[in-house]
Chain length 666, copies 2
Amino acid sequence: MAVTEAPESKCDVLIIGAGPAGMMMAAWMARMGINARIVDKRSTKIFSGQADGLQCRSLEIFDSFGFADRAWKEANHMIEMCMWNPGEDGVLRRSDRVPDVPSGLSRFTQIVLHQGRIERFFLDHIKKHSKDTLRVERAVLPESLEIDEDRCDDHSADNYPIKVQLRHLTDEEAAPAQANGQTVSDGLFRSNLADDDTDDLIKKGRENKGGSEIVRAKYMVGCDGAHSWTRRQLGFQLEGEPTDFIWGVLDIVPITDFPDIRNRCAVHSASSGSLMVIPREEKLVRLYIQLTEIKPDASGRADRSKITPDTIIKAAQKIIAPYSLTYEYCDWFTAYQIGQRVGTNFDHKGRVFLTGDAVHTHSPKAGQGMNVSMQDSFNLGWKLGMVVKGVAQPSILKTYQSERRRIAQDLIAFDHKFSRLFSGRPAKDVMDEEGVSMEDFKQAFLNGNMFASGLSVDYGTSMLVAKPGSAADQGDGTDVSSTHYQKVVGGQELATNIKLGMRFPSFKVLNQSDARPWEFQEKLRSDGRFRIIVFAGNVVDPQQQARLKVFCQNLTSSGFLAPHIHTSIALLTCHASKRTEVELLRDFPEVLHPFDSKLGWDYNSVYVDDVSYHEGFGDAYKNYGVDKQSGCVVVTRPDQYVGHVDSLDEEGFVGVESYFKGVLVS
Amino acid sequence: MAVTEAPESKCDVLIIGAGPAGMMMAAWMARMGINARIVDKRSTKIFSGQADGLQCRSLEIFDSFGFADRAWKEANHMIEMCMWNPGEDGVLRRSDRVPDVPSGLSRFTQIVLHQGRIERFFLDHIKKHSKDTLRVERAVLPESLEIDEDRCDDHSADNYPIKVQLRHLTDEEAAPAQANGQTVSDGLFRSNLADDDTDDLIKKGRENKGGSEIVRAKYMVGCDGAHSWTRRQLGFQLEGEPTDFIWGVLDIVPITDFPDIRNRCAVHSASSGSLMVIPREEKLVRLYIQLTEIKPDASGRADRSKITPDTIIKAAQKIIAPYSLTYEYCDWFTAYQIGQRVGTNFDHKGRVFLTGDAVHTHSPKAGQGMNVSMQDSFNLGWKLGMVVKGVAQPSILKTYQSERRRIAQDLIAFDHKFSRLFSGRPAKDVMDEEGVSMEDFKQAFLNGNMFASGLSVDYGTSMLVAKPGSAADQGDGTDVSSTHYQKVVGGQELATNIKLGMRFPSFKVLNQSDARPWEFQEKLRSDGRFRIIVFAGNVVDPQQQARLKVFCQNLTSSGFLAPHIHTSIALLTCHASKRTEVELLRDFPEVLHPFDSKLGWDYNSVYVDDVSYHEGFGDAYKNYGVDKQSGCVVVTRPDQYVGHVDSLDEEGFVGVESYFKGVLVS
């Protein structure tokens, strides 16, 4: 048989894996017009089961792409968390109710919707913004990776140091094996109790002589899950050990007299283990159920053949007694062994990156997995996009590991504590040191809530975050300090509630031109641009008006900044005078609302902190901690995290310019 | 040539015309599972121009179908109305700003989005709910109508007294003629300055021997516009006369220094006529421009050949001077002659109905046309659906004309006043009796706002509205009093802000089972069912608990009502005790949260007036004017209008039962 050469092609970014982490990567690529490809070894997308919790921060991110509303509408909203444990008589009772998300954190609360729908929103978004040029290529997987190590630091536009061989499978080869005669969707084949099938798939593809091709890429992102093939090629490890705790998961329409089946519940039984209730969309409920009768074998892993919907529901019935619990419809089930592991490296020479489960695995009960995975890619995507476009300095790519590996470490610590409190039996009394005190559990839950919302993320100092302190201490140890310019430190006191390193919070403001109220964060779209947010203060005051003018003149006359303005840096303004005393065209320099000869003036960039006709008063300046007279200027990164804060004075302008000199190319 | 017989088929409801009125009709048919067809003479749907204003009430209705969010997201929101007129120096100035919609009326405000998008939402909805069995059949129009007059009163299931011959056109025949070489979408062919082309289309179809078919229908609805073919066949008239006022309409992306181009504006120039600004989605703005230089000819109709985008913008420039106004992009234009006309009859023998422009035409500036047209069908659709299903008494169909012709008369009166104030020149001073006083204009606008929101609709007494007074006085004169049973009159004092005959207002309540806040009106879905809304009061009080139990026992033991409960009458409960002191399964009779052997208990029918974790307190009982201790019971029709209010006592139950005995069949 003649050997035909595999066809060869180039792309800027090759994404391996089309789960939520890969989809988020692809979303950025589509939004920023990057020449990217995304491949997945599976032949179909997910229709049930898998991850389901969406934290507040994930919804804010979805909103920045424009599809949070779809998730918000379809999902179940989790409002209240109820704690159940044995009373003094040993009978299960509700001991507490707390809000599932602390109030005032975000305009969103935590919601639950299955991963298949979320992937659908991403697919629609990617299709729309890439004009259908970027599609998930299914039943395609990498089988070899070569990196030209010597050329990794060469950032010329025609350098493609990564060579990947891709194998195309038939649909049949790519379909996961389901247990025979199973009518319920079985998630075990993807759980951490199952073996990885990637090598089998590659072998099958080769034996059957499926097509293969060579792709040369500038960058590659492994979003290929806990068994990450990409991670294995790089020789990186996941560090950590599994525990003896085995949990089952059932997605069912429950038939029960348990009163809180539509609330999130933590149920600790006296001696039959614990159970968590996660009410879902439609009439589904997800139950996480501790399987106390199943133990890992000598290899440290549990025998998954013993785990069926029937054994799981029986365990649940014991825990939730005296309440009844059965079902007629089961949508999906799986099981997993609790353990926390984190990757040693997230990044190989600034060319190959790992995101999501490829670099952190943990237990699913806190609803963090999909969120943290998507947010890895959300952190990396715009950086890669700007570097590929030649707009940002390649050194910013180092912040991916320093920022996200630190988050993964925090997550692992959180999950370690949370899952142990969850799997322990409740303490009988204060003298019972082996049991879990329900008061401790409640406190841990409340403290964990802030973390679990995704809103406590606080990136350390780097060229992207003008914070005081040591980059190594605040990140994972990677050196990401700014080397090119004098280190800039933001004036946190000018905007006391817009924290450097944290996401830009949201309060309602009005459009100056049409009085429509908006959450200000909604104006920080994920379009791949930094933002200079001009808190213009009291613009009807002549002195403040003059400061604003000078600041804007500096922006447009800066040789470094001017070419980036409106292209890689958008401008957004919020003033604090009365809306009706101000006119857009008269009172604001043109750069804040640029003119286009075909489209006229820009009416969507200047806002005001004023009372709305129908939706109250956001009181944004007060809530942001900004002075209503003198204002300030805030720089946000394309992912809404706060990079710099400075004054509207001349020195403030120099600070802003210096910040960008450490990030963008001239 | 052999004469082949036209094929013949049957359907329950035949809808002529697929504009917004026809689409709304079809939406009901899809939701209620009625065997219906909808045909339209045009071969394509609308892509630009046409109607664009959506009032609060239309959005509430869209929400009841589940797609208000799509309109809300895409539309421009109109928040402020600005009035511009000459100052004492004769120079144009802003004299006033008022909210476009009074606050507190609805959770929605008025928005603007072009008709094509709204038709898209309907099409998607109809497809989904009819499982793709109900589709708009385009390029199909009726050419003959025969009604078996003797059988109109025979409501046996196999009686199809209407016979219609439908003609199928080719796409080419059905495409509207556009002016030659026109690049801008020209709306003149559909304006009231243009001749009707229906007869031409029929003639062409016959000459070309396009296919034809016979449809036998139980009911027919003519939603076929101002030139309604259906109305002509019935011999009904539109009464009223055109005026001399000619207005042009331009949809452009304006280039202007006029400060309020993103607000709704009424601009009265000293002597060049008036102009209205309607900011739209994207960067579009619709301008309504008085064309003072174009007059009707001897026939009473203006020569439309003189009307081009160029003549219209020139007229606008004169009015808006000294501000500049040009454009590079024009999306659509049209012109119309102001006039108000209303149909003599909306209904032929309870078998053929007319809705929308077929029975009322007026000027478009108040943004009422599409709204009132859709609401005609919204009023009629569920009545037809319930009668076709054999659930409701055919006599309820009479209320369509009594309710909607009255609304049309009110609309005509409103528009008559509003358009004259708009087209008049501003008064020079208080002695100038011919001019329009700007104070009068502002007052008329503010008074008109309530009407224009669609929320002032107040249907008169009938078998469907248990109000005191005379049915003839409160409607259009049609006799719609209940004849079968003793007249029921609702206890308005039990729910002082849930007005009999008006739409059920909305305040936030919480789901008892999961604490999620909802606008209570969201729970009144357009699913074709009446609702008994049980304001259960203080259910932890034993006496009130006992009243509730007896009321529910009466519901389930009533020979008349029991078969309708959950099928054509849904139950919805809101209590006023603390949520945490109440348990759904313990404290509420089963009929309020029915059990299903496959799906378990219903957790979505019992709500509570309590404080939410994240969205404040709706204070619903207080806002509805219902006593927190003793509650009451409210009956809403499938269109959310309030039919009856009564107590939870034995007499209250008798009242509710009597109401339904006048409406439903046993």
